[in-house]
Amino acid sequence: METRIHDAIYREETINEFVFNPMIEALPPPFKPAVAVDKLMRRPSYSSEERKEPSEIRLILTQRIITIHQPMVWEIDVLSRIDRCIRWGYVGRNPLLSSYACQLAAGHDAAVNGLDLDHAGVYHPNTYGFSILGISGIGKSSTIEGILSLYPQVIRHTEYNGLPLNMHQITWLKLDCPCDGSLKGLCLDFFHTIDDLIGTSYCTQYSKNATLDRMMIAMSQLCTTHNVGLLVVDEIQHLCTAPKGIPEKVLNFLVTLVNTIGVPVVTIGTPKAISMMQTEFQQAKRGSGQGDALLSRMSNDAHWDFFCKVIWDFQYTQQEVPYTQKMRNALYEDAQGIPFLAVHIYKLVQEDAILTERETFTVKDLHRIASEKMGLTKPMREAMKAGKEVDLRQFVDIASFSCKDYSDNYSIAAEAASPAPAPERKQSVQEAAIMTLLGLGLSYTEAQTFACMAIAADNSGCPAPTVVARNAWQLYQEHPQAPQENTGSISGLLGYEAIREAGLVDNAL
């Protein structure tokens, strides 16, 4: 996203808590829902005359389809929450109030005296932020970026009501959680982002020889100095793969930013992060009133119908294909309520129609294209359809977006949605050896007895069935007379319990 520094233009505020707060008065006014929809919506240009263009031109034009964005209800809800977070977050951080300077002095003292971050702030937060969780491809990051672009990212203040006020206001700052979940990486990303926005050199200063504690205090200090309105941390699920102890440290740091510095924090991630965040963020989110946004794929309802109608308008086949209920259902069946997939399927079916010169398509074509051109996602989509658990980690490359974490996360989400079926019972080593010995002519009793003896005598701990069968056969050859059948004699064998628990013997013995 292009960054441009905007000069502050102050509006008159009507809400008591917002009056005489230059940080809030410089923000754009709150968006009415209709205005928000209009601003978030992205519709490329289209003319039905373009259907008459040569096929090679129309094959290029189909790319417009994937730029379509139709705001959903949940996006307006998220916009409203973000707006509240930013505005109320500034209430306690008015640079004209004495608490602002007090906060900065406390942060500096903490840095100079080597204290921890808890000593670096004196604010009582007015808002805590919230989390946005949803499967990959549902549109979390792109929606957030669209919402954030409605606010000027950097506002430069020079004078407020005749009083010199020289500072920058960074309305929002979006960071990506490092792949290794490292807190140092997060801090450096923060410094780097600030440097890019306002031309400072914090990254250079702190990339060498600075301790993590010092970096954390500096980050909190800069959040106050540069009046950061909202901190957005994306890909928070990366913390799940971090070494033990790291996720707690990162989340605790974010909680401290909220509680001590007063900066609202919005975390974005996949359902993989749910359990991790519930424990750490519970205290912070208590009483926030914002709740969390848990996003799931769309249902086949009026919203899906509306969405399909929107993209249906962008047709480049020479023959017009009418929008029908069957088409809608077929698209839902293939995309499973994920707008990203639906848009791609719709684009691909048109390209196929143009390439093959049929210049039209049917429901069957939708299914065919979804199967042929997006075959890698077929098992995943069918799993979604059936609600079955599928190991989706093998589906790494799907279409034009990375699906590895998508499939990882969906498997976890599917687990939460429906319990996993009981695992298929595997044949034990003993059973396999018995089968082999039966084939060699031993009676069942003899095969059972000598198989147990061979397992008991094995030192490896996990003998293969063929090894057991061979050893049992040797024992039989040496002592053809099987020991007296006595269920108690088996349990008297040394290590029988361990063998039983290891699944090497049948529990029925």
Binding site: M167, H168, I198, Y202
Partner: protein
């Protein structure tokens, strides 16, 4: 005269603290450092000046003010001129200078005028008024170093009439480090200098409390309105008017000073203090003009206070205002 050229001229700063009333320029830079989040003092100094420059001259003198045009946009409301007038002791210092500062962007002027440290308090510690510091905490959320307590001969707060304190930070320590008042004054170990005051000098300050409170008020007035006066020329004219008014001759003499101080204090205590503070000048003077040009501006304020009570009357009164007939045409 060699002038150090900044290897990397500073650019526009991402923020700049709004100066508080009567704040020293050094204090503004300290608050910048507090807010900067910079890892070290050196990093902030380089960010401000482009090279590792000394900070000590910024305590009372307009050192590095030419950087303000690079630091701040034109619409900021903070200019070199406003910083010069409100946050440095330049207009007090120039009272005895032969030159007016015409071009603040020329850093060599400070060497030509020899203005370094000549109004800095003799104690050479960062100083403050405890009551003012409490008020600052209440109103602004942080304490700051006021300009007035750093000036020589200012021993009392003109607002609260309380004795000013030496902090535990010597001026020598601020050459390459930022010592923000918010940090120093919140640390009990740094709130007071670990140096015992001279009891004889303390006796003078206590005995002549009213006089020194008036001196503080006059210094404060000159810091605010000294821009009206043109260097030593106006000082000499004012002395001439006063001498004419008194009808005692043309030049200011040691005897004049003795008479004026004794009239105020009722004893020779103040005059002996004045002599002790200006030993070189008093023992080597060569009638009036030499005396006027060799004693420092703060000592002149003492004289103004003794002669007229306040600096405004000293500078702005005319003989006719005082009801005295001019007896000779000078």
């Amino acid at each position: 005269m060699h002038c150090r050229i900044a290897p990397q001229p500073p650019g526009e700063l991402p923020f700049f603290p709004t100066p508080y009333p009567g704040e020293s320029f050094y204090s503004i830079l300290c608050r910048y450092h507090v807010r900067s989040g910079n890892a070290s003092d050196a990093a902030t100094i380089k960010q401000l000046f482009g090279y590792q420059s000394s900070l000590a001259p910024t305590l009372v003198n307009p050192f590095h003010l030419e950087m303000a045009s690079a630091w701040l946009p034109h619409s900021s409301g903070i200019t070199q001129e406003s910083l010069l007038r409100l946050n440095t002791a330049y207009h007090l210092t120039k009272l005895t200078s032969y030159y007016e500062l015409n071009d603040i962007s020329d850093p060599s002027w400070i060497f030509r005028h020899n203005l370094q440290n000549n109004v800095l308090h003799q104690s050479r510690f960062l100083r403050y008024c405890p009551h003012c510091a409490e008020e600052q905490m209440r109103v602004y959320g942080e304490a700051y170093w006021q300009l007035l307590p750093q000036i020589d001969e200012v021993e009392y707060c003109p607002v609260h009439s309380t004795r000013l304190c030496n902090s535990g930070i010597p001026v020598s320590k601020i050459k390459s480090s930022f010592q923000p008042a918010s940090t120093v004054l919140s640390n009990p170990a740094l709130r007071h200098a670990q140096v015992e005051a001279d009891p004889q000098v303390e006796f003078v300050y206590e005995r002549e409390k009213d006089f020194f409170i008036r001196v503080a008020r006059n210094v404060s007035w000159l810091l605010e309105y000294g821009y009206r006066f043109t260097c030593i020329q106006d000082l000499v004219k004012a002395y001439k008017r006063h001498k004419v008014a008194e009808g005692n001759g043309y030049w200011l003499t040691i005897k004049d000073l003795d008479r004026a101080f004794s009239k105020v204090s009722g004893s020779s205590l103040l005059f002996r203090y004045f002599e002790w503070r200006n030993q070189y000048s008093c023992h080597n003077y060569d009638e009036g003009h030499y005396l006027i040009s060799t004693i420092n501006p703060c000592s002149h304020v003492m004289i103004m206070t003794a002669l007229c009570g306040d600096a405004k009357t000293f500078y702005e009164s005319r003989p006719s205002d005082m009801g005295i007939r001019i007896v000779s045409n000078l």
